[in-house]
Symmetry: C2
Subunit: 254 residues, 2 copies
């Protein structure tokens, strides 16, 4: 039995473009080309295509499929084992992604969402004022009001509970930090407790926590004057101490 591209494509449930592509990359050549230049596939190609689609179903790349199909001594089992590892890793990553998304959704759902603008009137005003003081109208002109407001959206999306919890934690961090700075040992008990609390506090704002991002933020605490000034007002050197504590906590210290 002989098939044209469309016929074989329909049979196999793929597009004719796919078959032409497979021809192009040398994965599945037609049995022959007829006098009009049409690709003609035979039953042998049907079999090969089935094998190809089988591996494709498994998520194997076309390049690898070519090896599998065309190399008689290919280590099929080894390839499958490796491929399985990759799939498991992918699934792990997916799982954590899903968990994070669900966490974020839950945060949006859990409790009443604080749409009460008044509760944040002061907080919001502070942020906006600071931006405007620093950059004046340039920011608003450049980004438009929408963006400036949007940068506060995350905070506005918090529940009252979360907001209060965040404030408690922030207070706790400051107290710990003040005491910890005196120990002069960022890797010590107090220093590490502060870092741990800081992580907890952070996860209220970031749904996706990672050591790298945490360490990055820590670097910012000394690099960005907004932050260093904020922490140093409680105790000189506090920002630097906190950074070091976090770097040790996340295992990213140099």
């Amino acid at each position: 039995m002989e098939y044209t591209v469309k016929q074989l494509a329909d049979l196999a449930g793929v597009s004719s473009r796919t078959l032409r592509y497979y021809d192009q990359i040398g994965l599945l050549k037609p049995f022959c080309i007829n006098e009009s230049g049409y690709r003609i596939y035979g039953s042998m190609e049907v079999d090969l295509l089935q094998q190809i689609l089988f591996y494709r179903e498994l998520g194997v790349s076309l390049e690898r499929i070519k090896e599998i199909i065309y190399a008689p001594d290919f280590q099929e089992k080894q390839a499958l084992l490796e491929h399985r590892e990759q799939l498991l890793k992918k699934r792990e990553r997916l799982d954590s992604l899903i968990a994070n998304v669900e966490k974020t959704i839950a945060a949006l759902e859990g409790g009443e969402i604080m749409t009460d603008q008044e509760k944040f009137e002061g907080f919001k005003k502070n942020l906006v004022d600071e931006n405007e003081r620093k950059y004046g109208h340039e920011a608003r002109t450049k980004y438009g009001d929408a963006v400036v407001d949007a940068s506060n959206a995350k905070v506005l999306g918090m529940t009252e509970e979360q907001y209060n919890r965040a404030n408690e934690l922030a207070e706790e961090i400051i107290q710990n930090l003040i005491a910890a700075v005196d120990t002069n040992d960022p890797g010590g008990k107090l220093g590490q407790k502060t870092a741990r609390l800081h992580r907890e506090w952070l996860t209220l704002y970031w749904a996706a926590y990672s050591k790298e991002a945490h360490a990055g933020l820590a670097e910012m605490y000394t690099a960005d004057e907004r932050f260093s000034a904020y922490y140093d007002q409680y105790k000189p050197g506090a920002a630097e101490f906190l950074r070091d504590a976090i770097l040790i906590y996340t295992g990213k210290e140099k």
Copy 2:
């Protein structure tokens, strides 16, 4: 605090290319461009970048992130719910892929692998002979011996158990089919039992079973003379009957 591309990039743990790309697609514009044409980012951009990376972590596309960040009335929760659905679908697919790979590995492992060429001497010879009878030397010339032999590789990868089981099943299918054709009812008890057996048989050859593929194969049973001749030799109209039975079984009948 102001940053150049590299500084912000290092801070956030992304490449400078990424930042230039984000600028290019309008996802994150620098605060300003200095007299040398350098991109300068401010603390506001740091915040925005953090939001962007947060969503990126969740696997949201940059295009969608742009919507989320820049549209003040964007339905964040709705977006996240939809995104979660997509992730769940992805995971489902991954799960079945993993299951298939493991099944295939198990098939390769379970029992001794039939490397005993002699057991397949006849089987192999038949297939090869048939190919050569039909296409003569063209096939071997065109594909090279490797491919011709490789098309039998799957069969050679079966264990003895599996091979015997496959033969038993094939015999059973024929017996059922012969009896079923007389009922003239592909959707009847006997017809559907045959289809079920056929599926079982098929899964011994295909690690990745799907209704679509099964139905596709069924269509081939009347379209491809190799198959129709094979089944019709036992009873005229058997191939057509089997096709109809499978189409009903898979729910793909028109």
